[in-house]
Symmetry: D3
Subunit: 244 residues, 6 copies
Amino acid sequence: MKIKLINPNTTQSMTDSICRMAVRYADPGTDITAVSPKTGPDSIECYVDEYLAVPGVIQEVIKGDRLEDMDAFIIACFGDPGLSAAREVTDKPVLGICEAAIAAAKFIAPYFSVVSVLDRSRKVTEDVVKAYGAESFCRSIRTTGLSVLDFGRDPEKGLAALAQEGRKAVAEDGAECILLGCAGFVDFVDALKQELGVPVLDGVMPAVKFAEALVKMGAKTSKANTWKVPEPKAFKGFDGIVDL
Amino acid sequence: MKIKLINPNTTQSMTDSICRMAVRYADPGTDITAVSPKTGPDSIECYVDEYLAVPGVIQEVIKGDRLEDMDAFIIACFGDPGLSAAREVTDKPVLGICEAAIAAAKFIAPYFSVVSVLDRSRKVTEDVVKAYGAESFCRSIRTTGLSVLDFGRDPEKGLAALAQEGRKAVAEDGAECILLGCAGFVDFVDALKQELGVPVLDGVMPAVKFAEALVKMGAKTSKANTWKVPEPKAFKGFDGIVDL
Amino acid sequence: MKIKLINPNTTQSMTDSICRMAVRYADPGTDITAVSPKTGPDSIECYVDEYLAVPGVIQEVIKGDRLEDMDAFIIACFGDPGLSAAREVTDKPVLGICEAAIAAAKFIAPYFSVVSVLDRSRKVTEDVVKAYGAESFCRSIRTTGLSVLDFGRDPEKGLAALAQEGRKAVAEDGAECILLGCAGFVDFVDALKQELGVPVLDGVMPAVKFAEALVKMGAKTSKANTWKVPEPKAFKGFDGIVDL
Amino acid sequence: MKIKLINPNTTQSMTDSICRMAVRYADPGTDITAVSPKTGPDSIECYVDEYLAVPGVIQEVIKGDRLEDMDAFIIACFGDPGLSAAREVTDKPVLGICEAAIAAAKFIAPYFSVVSVLDRSRKVTEDVVKAYGAESFCRSIRTTGLSVLDFGRDPEKGLAALAQEGRKAVAEDGAECILLGCAGFVDFVDALKQELGVPVLDGVMPAVKFAEALVKMGAKTSKANTWKVPEPKAFKGFDGIVDL
Amino acid sequence: MKIKLINPNTTQSMTDSICRMAVRYADPGTDITAVSPKTGPDSIECYVDEYLAVPGVIQEVIKGDRLEDMDAFIIACFGDPGLSAAREVTDKPVLGICEAAIAAAKFIAPYFSVVSVLDRSRKVTEDVVKAYGAESFCRSIRTTGLSVLDFGRDPEKGLAALAQEGRKAVAEDGAECILLGCAGFVDFVDALKQELGVPVLDGVMPAVKFAEALVKMGAKTSKANTWKVPEPKAFKGFDGIVDL
Amino acid sequence: MKIKLINPNTTQSMTDSICRMAVRYADPGTDITAVSPKTGPDSIECYVDEYLAVPGVIQEVIKGDRLEDMDAFIIACFGDPGLSAAREVTDKPVLGICEAAIAAAKFIAPYFSVVSVLDRSRKVTEDVVKAYGAESFCRSIRTTGLSVLDFGRDPEKGLAALAQEGRKAVAEDGAECILLGCAGFVDFVDALKQELGVPVLDGVMPAVKFAEALVKMGAKTSKANTWKVPEPKAFKGFDGIVDL
């Protein structure tokens, strides 16, 4: 089975971390390919970043579907940017890591909290939590005030900040499981689990496992209506960026 | 990996069907054990049935956890009876097939409908759909007016009834995926898929695959608060039924 | 008129307290019978407890309906365990004390809070508040960290803890009425009312009065569909526990 | 015990019908006084009617509280006009018939529908159903297209229209209990019960019984904050209409 | 274009402030008329106040529609008292200042908070925020504990209290825009904007601009059903107060 | 005042229609500029279309903000694609036509329905209706099965289809106002208004008027947190497409 992991930003070190996490948890028979799109921002922290990341995500899904014989796709950014569009251009399962993390959390805990990056990203996270019908399971979204790239630059400081917000989420907000609200946090999972004493989930691990599960079920994205292949039409300005 | 599949009713033929479905989709390394509890009703169609099924379910989970070295549990009735109680008596993942079916459906379709048995069971299904935060994804719950055991007695009539309600769900209600609202429907999945032209999911298949996924993730049920092991206390009347 | 009060746990001293409260508020012509089931836990603080209490509750309702000529039933535990099942086995009104307390509170205050026992029980209370459509009336659920039986062992400490949480609910959460989230708190009502200066409601009192009201209205549980008498079917293992 | 029943419109024949219903179900020791305010419309079918009925309702509550020694009040119009204002001017329980009907319905059926008068009144009913947190229990609001006074003029036609909408509510919408959405429908309850085969509730009967229940509980409207006595202030133009 | 601004209370100094705000922002071609009704309370802080204000509001709308050739109406009290009734008696646009403030806030900020007067008024504000579907945009409703007339008596103290609650709303609740929850606060807008560093909106300004916009669009209140002209009927006791 | 109207698709004839509508309703002092981005699809009917339209929308807002001295922006596609991103790159008001149409409808009718293009677009419309908190005001979303470009090719057929769905929305769904769910429908407004007898709103007209209103209020997009200017970062592949 071939799973393509798309880190929607263009920071290769983050793609590498994500890939390691995926490989660590993938089944022996699963072949993981992790890529950054050729186009897009080097981190995703606001709506502009999200929108400029999506064309590259769509392109990687199209390539994976038509040329690379992929069986499933994972969009590895906690805002799940472009997920619905990606589901239009292939009938192979496409998972977002936020969606996967929430699905996993609901199986093992009655309530979760998300710990995340900049405060400005809070609304993006609220939007996706709501979109998945998980408001009543989500006790809080806590932010560290650190940017995606801050975490790369000073991982220790990042870990301390995540631990602090995670502890508050458990003690004050009633969280019984912590979700890490950024794909770049995969390297902190083990340390935080020990620190917090409750389940800690990044989204990459469950996305890989659920993607494998869906492929083995033979599950395909429904082409009944909403996520049908887009009607053929003229696009301007995306030559070399998106090949529909 | 050992997964215990608990059919909460005592009808062995249904346990057998469920087991076949589970085995068909289980990973090569997964050992499936399917049981009916020693206590409970022969089908589950109302709240009394649910409540009298649960002690047996709890008992099978306790046995599986303490004596049988199980890695995960599946409650194979679409009302997910006793799921929260089961999660208290073990820290191994416990999945309900309704919860698993909904999680799978949300990965592959924007909207689903459930087709089910007697009209009186509709509210049980509404309750669980709501409990999982899936109201806005569920376009309708359609019932056939046939009992669980009617389906066993006349499978062809049952299949025709499910196909009719499934077609209406797609054409009139906007469903883009159909969930089969009874564990006993596992044998109809393939026929209905062909008939309806949209994804059709029973709950057993996704429950098996997601249970395997959670075990491989090392995921454990959170013991932070709600689902902690029950406080030791005196129980009357359950000797030989539930061994806490 | 004969009302049967079922304390779903097997602690007789609690049944006695509940009975005194009921008798104190019952109409002169009302005959109160208060029982503990023969089976079940000695206190109810988690889902396992709830589920193992319900068969006994169902049995007491069946007995009351068929043999004891009861006119109404009250399930006297704040989680209202088995309420929907009880409504299937009789057409006489069945009330839960949580449901009754919330109905009473809504008549006399715009917002209420619940003060309760162990923190782990919070979700059970959230579930019932939600099930009755009362989320937007409920300002908070506050817990004391004491178990049901702790309250019996040290009532003064219990009262002090309830008063403290009640005061916070009024001052910080905007509660204008306090609901006592455990049937065992009936003895604290008067003291808390004085202490808090806002209406304080246990559930037993309103359940008795509303049960009387429903009986006098000639109201019967609807047998139109959901709560019809259960279809006859085979049950294993409940001989001597539940006589369907 | 003295209960004052306020028919917010000025049609005496409707006040008489409501009074008969109340007296029929009141306890022997309950003294029912039924009045129409001196001011207001002769029927209530739109927001203007509601708002012009409320001053008279407030005045009757004030009189009842200060001069008539009333123990409880009932506002007998299905829109519960002025309920929150009435609760400010007295600490005796004040019940609206819609609120009471919904509370009663929830005790005996999982779902109800309302059958009512003109289609334009539908939103008023939707507003109150929502305000009481009962959306998920209410399957439909069906209207007959007849005005309040049409029902008075041609009761047979009115009854037939209610029966027809009631049947549709049960058969098509899943109602398991029917609420009559106008105080003027009290005379149709018995006939509709027989016709429809499910519980049929007007609001006057449960309001009387629940008012008695609250008085016997010693329940008072919370004066903690929202429904405190209004601050003294100058009012122009209501001399002889409302005496604050 | 002629816009009639109705201050539902009878305090002329407040009507004057509101008028100045309206004139300051009105288009050159807009003729603003600001009135207090002849009947009603001198401030609006509870439900009784609201209900006794509405007949005067209705009367001013009727006069404006029939005799004064008005093109639109604004109800200038943050509870929007009588808005739906007013929409029945005219087909010219009628706007409430709360509704307008919320509409404006949603165009320029993802979240807002309301800062308001007495704590008892909080529920009125919650009711309207909910009625307009804005719960998920509203981070908090904060109250100063000062009455409407306190603000008139000691504006400096009032401003300081609003600034303090506004700062907390931004820092603690996540508000990104502040709405002033009383028409009497129009004079504080500029000072608060500077103080808080986020957009601050009273409701009068957006109501005037949106009313002008609706008139220029040729928009009329829908007379399709709910807000049709009231059916002619007899009213008692409102001669000289409301001329229907 | 200068308002820039951005038709997110690249079909010039639609931009021209939209422009005519805007000019017809704009104030004399308002200067309307209507553009199609240089990049993007020729119609927007699915998520891929939306996402590939947004970079061009962002670019037009950036240009309008930095180089063209625009005072406000309108995104003229009923899915409001890229609205939140556009609000990050300027502090001038940015309106989506769906958001504006809903705001206008709520001022003049209690309920609306949307009539739209292909059935697959229904979910996009549901998403935005939900995002604006308007679910409870929206009675239905009805689709014609015709594509955006079908309407251009055969306007008469398009008009007939819209009229038919609009009539059903009023008669069957309880709509009291009709919203046209595509910017390309501006030319049908007058004919539909006459045909349906209820208010009919496209989104361009209210967006223009509300944009003017916001500019005259001096309203700016809040830069407090969520919609701050994006952090400077590296973007690949958007040279000549988006100039951040």
